[in-house]
Amino acid sequence: MIVRRKELSLAERVYLPEIARGLALTFGKLFAKKMTRQYPEQPLPTDEVTRGQPRLVVKEDGHVACVSCGLCEAACPAYAITIDGGETDRPIEREPVRFEIDMLRCILCGFCEEACPKDAIFMSDELELADTSRAALLYDLDKLKRPKSALQRRIDYVYRINQRWRKPSSTS
């Protein structure tokens, strides 16, 4: 491509009027609206589509919905999830005795959420992940539990987008 240079006018060649024009422009910007977000005080707005860290749903009866089937463990591409199942006297018969997600490995892909047949794991809107040791970022059951109400927005969203594949009777 041939770039044709524009013939400069005298005012442009003298340079000074153009400098004045540039200075006027930047001076105006001094008072422009600031774009900065004061992060810790003004956190990022999250949405139902926000795919944050995975969390385990605690149902209204106080138990986790997880039955430790291991599908999320298998689906996890980063091998971040470790589950040891155990028996329980409740009708569902199985529950996790150990459920760990290594947050340093988790890539927030959401495959566990998709794999779960019992709607027990959902991607929360929790995004902040910082600590002083690797061990502290190995989240166990206690750290992963969230009441269902805290995840409701995401649950509703997942239900909505999955409607066409979900059989009406399969909801837990």
């Binding site: 540039g22 200075l23 910007k29």
Partner: protein, 341 residues
Amino acid sequence: MSPAVREVLVWFVKASLIYGGLLGTAAVMTLAERKVSAWMQYRIGPNRVGPWGLLQPIADLIKFLCKEEMIPDGANRLLFRAAPLLAAMPAMLTVAVIPFGGAVKIGGVTTNLSVTDLDIGALYVLAIGGLGVYGVILGGWSSNSKYSLLGGLRASAQMVSYELSLILAILAVVAVSGSLDLRAIVEGQRTLGEWNVFAQPLAFLLFTIASFAETNRHPFDFAECEPELVGGFHTEYSSMRFALFFLGEYCAMIVMASLNTTLFFGGPSVPFAPEAHWALGLAAFALKTAFFLFLFLWVRWTLPRFRFDQLMKLGWKVMLPAALANLFLTGGAVALGVDLW
């Protein structure tokens, strides 16, 4: 108290106040630079340390003092250590002759508001100010790094080129005022109409442009020139010695701004009130200097950097002939007794 002791005491107080003011202003300038640059880019700027970020310079100072200092292998250790001092010193020395205000009377002591009044103040400023290039070139050369060396070379070539125009611009003012004494130059522009900027607009323009080049500021900051030279002459510096280069740069900016005020805008002269109180005069001086300091920042965030050949072309083919012509015309007018204003 004997008069001699009192004189020394007065001199000591004046020197401490003026140098304290200079360093304080330099500290404020480091914050102002970041604030102004932020505002011009839709940002807020430092606001975490102290109210409105006002304690940021102190935090920076503590950080610089605590940092480890590195001297690269193969560096000339003596010159490497001396260069930052050489860069910071000239600006701090030149501020001595700047007349910040007229006679001040406090507690029966009358004194002029400047560390000293030299008969050859303008010459002194140029002579000492010219030494600033040594810090830059020695810092660049002694670092044993190609980036530093190139930065130092460019900076010294640029400073030497623009010093000519700077001196010739000042000379025209000296010709109009008939004195090298900065105080006499100030006293020649008591009222608004007498300000040299009206008699010497071209000299003012040349001086302002050359002062940007002299202090290695945008759009002539070839000494640093980050995209090409990493950090320029101070690439290898760390810790407080690194900060000293910047202290020198900011002090040089302050001196250039106050020199601009002194030479072209009547120093402490208050428009429409030639007999104003000295405090008002000092405030007027501060305000005028603050404007030129702001101009340094303003231009930095407006104009792109020159190319080095463009810089040299501007210096030698435009500024120098213009300054010479201006001096020639001014000299002729003064010799023929033509009133320039």
